[in-house]
């Protein structure tokens, strides 16, 4: 039940954020009126209202931008049929590690995968992605990279 409630409240927050997009600046206009009426507390409260709207808009835009960042998979060059449920993603829109030694080290890749090539992966919609998590040391590698596991 709490999961459903959390979902509904999150959805409501998102919708509220979208409606705020069109009301941004309303608080500032009100603040000017209150300021002229020398009601300084209300003027400050109106400005705070605008700030909170801006913050919610920023949160929505940020989360949409984050969700569009691609996932990557490192695989042995020439082996296009390589299949694995382990994928990774960096902070930006490019592969987080250089192919070869760095990828193998950071992602603790097994001996059959030297990570000499990288490709973009689009996880299937509605499939649960476990992560992000820090890669544990394996196969003589330090790990420490970021990984997601597609379920």
């Amino acid at each position: 039940m709490w999961i459903w409630n959390a979902f509904v409240y999150t959805l409501a927050d998102i919708l509220r954020g979208f409606s705020d997009l069109f009301r941004l600046g309303e608080g500032l206009a009100k603040a000017e009126q209150y300021w002229n009426q020398r009601d300084y507390w209300m003027a400050i409260a109106s400005i705070c209202q605008d700030i909170s709207r801006a913050a919610s808009i920023f949160a929505i835009v940020f989360s949409i931008a984050q969700s569009t960042r691609p996932f990557y998979q490192y695989y042995p060059a020439g082996n296009e049929s390589y299949s694995s449920k382990f994928i990774t993603r960096g902070n930006g829109w490019s592969p987080p590690y250089t192919t070869g030694t760095q990828a193998a080290e950071k992602l603790s890749l097994p001996p059959y995968n030297p990570g000499t090539a990288v490709r973009v992966i689009k996880p299937k919609s509605f499939r649960f992605l476990k992560g992000p998590s820090r890669v544990k040391p394996k196969f003589g590698h330090s790990g420490g990279g970021i990984q997601y596991v597609s379920q």
């Binding site: 097994p110 001996p111 040391p137 394996k138 196969f139 003589g140 330090s142 420490g144």
Partner: protein
């Protein structure tokens, strides 16, 4: 071929022939892990391996035995201690030692004991920032 991955339509039909020497000592590894309060994990990223992990002095420790490479009957045993601080990993590594299949549990157990003792004595000041 020592490691023969026969990929059929179903992913369930993956035969890891290279895993056989590990399967032969699995019961012993399992009881060793239980005895020493270690967590046992298997076949990370579909590669024949067994990992024993535990924590002491707020430092994570791992001992792993894994198949050296495809078409090989050699297994490597290594261990490390590590700790994450913010986005950095600090660690200490013991270089791998090679064993040939069939695996002799007595030899492996004594190496496990040695590695465990070494890793348990590792202190935070000995950990180095990973490359």
């Amino acid at each position: 071929m020592y490691l023969n991955k026969e990929l059929s339509k179903s992913k369930k039909n993956i035969f890891l022939i290279g895993e056989q020497p590990l399967l032969d000592i699995d019961d012993k590894i399992k009881s060793y892990a239980k005895r020493n309060k270690m967590k046992l994990s298997k076949n990370y990223q579909d590669w024949p391996e067994r990992s024993l992990s535990w924590k002491n002095n707020k430092i994570s420790k791992t001992i792993q035995i894994y198949l050296e490479k495809e078409n090989s009957n050699k297994f490597l045993i290594w261990g490390c201690a590590y700790k994450d601080k913010l986005s950095s990993r600090y660690w200490w590594k013991k270089e791998p030692i090679t064993f040939e299949a069939p695996l002799d549990w007595k030899q492996i157990e004594s190496l496990f004991n040695l590695l465990k003792k070494t890793l348990d004595n590792i202190e935070e000041s000995q950990l180095k920032l990973e490359r």
